[in-house]
Point group: C2
Chain length 190, copies 2
């Protein structure tokens, strides 16, 4: 039975058996409890995560408020933007549930890229795909009202609404919790 991470990678390209073995051997796991903080604002970072089970939220604090940047769930990659750099993190990473991840780090990755150029090629392709998806959601966000954004979230990631609190969802949608509450009420009456 293939590991989740190999399933994820083979969506993009066929993985040679040699690379498959190398990935399986190098993969290592970590488990976190609900509420655990993986990264704090101001911290340095040397790890990235592939989520096997659970949910991770990135957020920063502005005007004393937590602003949710993104929710990451199963089969998604979380890469702190300061990974391997000497700059402090601008944001937090927090587990919204008990979470199991594969952990990677830049040194191991570079070693793997060196040994398996196919993997670096794959990383480029995946980075480009994620970039395109993000561009699309950014664009959709810009040209939508808060209500449309909420409906879109309902459609594309309905389970997020069970996994995160409403004030977290609200800041993710770029609005205040009171407004989200009113939008929900408005929609029920439609």
């Amino acid at each position: 039975m293939k590991s989740k991470i190999l399933k994820y990678l083979s969506k993009y390209t066929e993985i040679t058996e040699q690379l498959e073995n190398a990935i399986n051997e190098s993969a290592y796991f970590k488990s976190y409890k609900k509420g655990d903080i993986l990264l704090k604002e101001g911290d340095f970072s040397n790890e990235c995560y592939f989520i096997l089970e659970g949910c991770i939220r990135s957020y920063f604090v502005k005007d004393g408020e937590e602003k949710t940047i993104e929710f990451y769930t199963e089969e998604e990659v979380v890469t702190p933007s300061n990974i391997g750099k000497s700059t402090p993190s601008q944001y937090f990473l927090e587990c919204l549930e008990d979470t199991v991840v594969n952990v990677g780090n830049p040194a191991l990755e570079n070693e793997m890229y060196h040994k398996y150029p196919q993997l670096e090629s794959l990383s480029r392709v995946i980075a480009e795909v994620i970039l395109t998806k993000q561009q699309e959601s950014y664009t959709a966000f810009k040209s939508s009202t808060p209500e449309e954004r909420y409906l879109q979230l309902l459609k594309t990631r309905p389970n997020l609404l069970q996994r995160a609190s409403q004030h977290q969802i609200a800041s993710y949608l770029g609005i205040r919790p009171e407004s989200l509450s009113r939008i929900r009420k408005r929609l029920i009456n439609k």
Copy 2:
């Protein structure tokens, strides 16, 4: 004297002389006039662009309105999201000024990646950098008011306001032209 594209690439890593020559030999140029359309909604795409001089705007049409996705200027890369794929473009690319570009295409790129793995590695790094930047601007957008977004644009890309019309800027900021006009007026009186 180094070409602009080589200057751009060498910001990220040192380029071997061999690769430098290959890039210079393979580089080819196109010139467009103000108003030229590089890509239409529904078209297929087989080219990407590195801007040497000028300005390109991506936009789509929703409810009969042009919604600006992004403005690209000198030393930036424009990659249609359907490049090399059999899916039609969701958006337009238009020159806001006379524009000179280096043109690339997937076949050539893949050939170059094959010959020069260093170049693919570089592409991965650049994709990751752009991804991080985009994430940051998406996040800033979400947690800002229209007025703050406009001020941010004034600070980070002041010349855009000379190069694009106000209704283009407005849709880029996710607001209506009338609102942008009012924001400008409000700020003058401050």
